[in-house]
């Protein structure tokens, strides 16, 4: 059995006449935290959807646990997804269910556990994210950071092998950001899972990731450990990692000659 739980092999994907990914190759080893970074619109979230089988590639393969995702029937995809957890950018909590009911949802759908056991497991998961006391609250009573932690508790409810995070740090205050950051690492190590993080946040991601892929112009522009990428002299990576205003990703949107336009007016 390969050491990689997810493998992306020569993948190409596009829609509405726009090619988003060109012959991408990625590997996600078991038990590691791997980040996918890149500019807005570079197709990072689309990669998560391809791994989760929500969309099919135009060319190439996405293999999860050795099985090609888009060759599976609905039952096969659901079977692979039962070993996945996903944290969506804004939590995606079910607004008509309480915190407890949200975390209990996957257990009730996929197991025959009695209510007493479900209660114990839910409180255990909520305790892991520091929200055991909030079990009775409704999603609209939670702050953004709390909602994301509840969503994380739900994502790990069935002890998944793969946990995917879509922009887990977006819009959080520094305290919540650090909490989520450390939870991602600690839960990954405790569960022995593989975490795939799609993010823009360089500093916090580099503090927890084992490996990073940079995606730009539909390709993997760079890859390596956080230490390697901090030292990278590749212009795009350097601009991204050091948050430089101008570089391969230009500050100015393409336009005509400025002087000529002013004089014309």
């Amino acid at each position: 059995m390969t050491n990689n739980i997810v493998e992306i092999d020569n993948l190409s994907f596009g829609y509405k006449g726009r090619l988003l990914h060109k012959s991408i190759n990625m590997a996600f080893p078991r038990g590691k935290v791997v980040a996918i970074m890149g500019g807005s619109g570079s197709g990072k979230t689309t990669l998560l959807r391809l791994i989760g089988g929500q969309i099919r590639p135009n060319l190439g393969e996405v293999r999860v646990n050795g099985k090609v995702m888009h060759e599976q029937d609905r039952a096969g995809i659901y079977q692979l997804r039962s070993k996945m957890g996903m944290l969506f950018q804004h939590g995606a909590l079910f607004t008509d269910l309480s915190v407890f009911e949200n975390v209990a949802f996957p257990m009730r759908e996929h197991t025959d556990l009695n209510e007493a056991m479900i209660k114990d497991l839910v409180l255990m998961k909520l305790n892991a994210v520091g929200l055991r006391g909030a079990y009775n609250l409704m999603p609209n009573e939670l702050s953004g950071g709390m909602a994301r932690r509840v969503s994380l508790a739900r994502a790990i409810a069935l002890d998944p092998d793969i946990i995917m995070y879509d922009e887990p740090f977006a819009g959080l205050d520094p305290i919540s950001l650090r909490v989520i950051c450390e939870l991602i690492r600690s839960l990954n190590d405790a569960l022995g899972a593989t975490s795939i993080i799609v993010t823009h946040d360089v500093q916090d991601t580099f503090s927890i990731a084992d490996y990073v892929y940079f995606v730009a112009n539909g390709e993997v522009a760079a890859e390596g450990t956080p230490h390697d990428l901090m030292q990278s002299t590749l212009p795009f990576v350097h601009q991204f990692v050091h948050a430089e205003k101008d570089g391969p990703v230009p500050f100015h949107y393409p336009a005509g000659d400025y002087r000529a336009e002013l004089m014309h007016e």
């Binding site: 929500q54 995809i77 997804r81 957890g85 079910f94 607004t95 759908e109």
Partner: protein, 268 residues
């Protein structure tokens, strides 16, 4: 020059009409596909009937107030209008029959369906649309739970079960309202009111056909509401337009189906 620009304008108009027609047909196909998938995935919402009961409360019970109030006023107006027409022909005693047949055959199922589309249909569309916009449906998919089995099917069956019950309540309350206007207010004989109704309302032709109509309207209105929500663009404007389309489409479909069903029932 003018001729060529006119030609371009005509071609552009035809192309726009063609694109809209293609889009309508695509949506019809997508709606039919969703209906088929809803039926296929319905097993779970009967095995776990508490999911459907919860939705029956949201769509049916929460619509009771508007159905009862509307039925009451419709019955009262029917009695007033009916009396002043019938008394010209010396048939004011038939007011009970007129109201009962109007409500049971037509107004009960049709007005209930229109009110249901406006109240429960828009709520369903907005709820599903917002679930899509906030990625709740995607989250369900990623948890290996079919949103059609868990969200769409229970709401569909809740609408189908609720509609005939609501239509029956509408007709009952309408007859009560007509009685209150016709007998104590106008002075129609109470015995004549009820006895003529009893003699002339047929359980098969009038009551059962009315229930069949409301059953069909329930399928149509609920499915339209579910499809519009499921297909809505995940934006505020998208959900807003979807709720408007739910009401408009449901209203037109109900009126069209009413004509078809009435023609069929009267010829059989």
């Amino acid at each position: 020059m003018i001729r060529s620009s006119l030609l371009v304008s005509v071609i552009r108009t035809l192309r726009g009409i063609g694109n809209r027609m293609i889009e309508r047909i695509w949506r019809l196909g997508a709606g039919a596909r969703l209906f088929l998938l809803t039926i296929i995935y319905s097993g779970d919402c009967f095995r776990r009937f508490h999911l459907t009961i919860r939705e029956i409360y949201s769509t049916g019970v929460m619509s009771l107030l508007i159905i009862i109030v509307s039925g009451f006023f419709v019955g009262m107006v029917l009695a007033l209008q009916g009396y002043y027409t019938l008394q010209k022909y010396g048939s004011s005693e038939a007011i009970g029959v007129l109201v009962a047949l109007s409500l049971l055959r037509e107004l009960g199922p049709v007005v209930t369906a229109l009110l249901f589309a406006g109240r429960a249909g828009t709520a369903i569309t907005a709820e599903i649309g917002l679930m899509k916009a906030t990625e709740q449906l995607s989250a369900m998919e990623m948890m290996a739970v079919s949103p059609i089995a868990r969200v769409i099917a229970p709401r569909f069956w809740a609408g189908v079960i609720s509609m005939p019950i609501l239509a029956t309540i509408f007709s009952m309350v309408g007859i009560l309202g007509a009685y209150l206007v016709a007998v104590p207010v106008i002075g129609v004989d109470e015995g004549a009111f009820w006895s003529q109704m009893q003699a002339n309302v047929d359980i098969h032709i009038d009551i059962v056909n009315g229930i069949i109509k409301s059953f069909v309207f329930g399928i149509a209105c609920t499915m339209i509401a579910l499809f519009e929500g499921f297909d809505a663009p995940p934006t505020a404007e998208g959900v807003s337009r979807a709720t408007t389309r739910t009401v408009v489409t449901s209203s037109l479909v109900v009126l069209g189906l009413d004509f078809v069903l009435t023609s069929f029932m009267l010829t059989v």
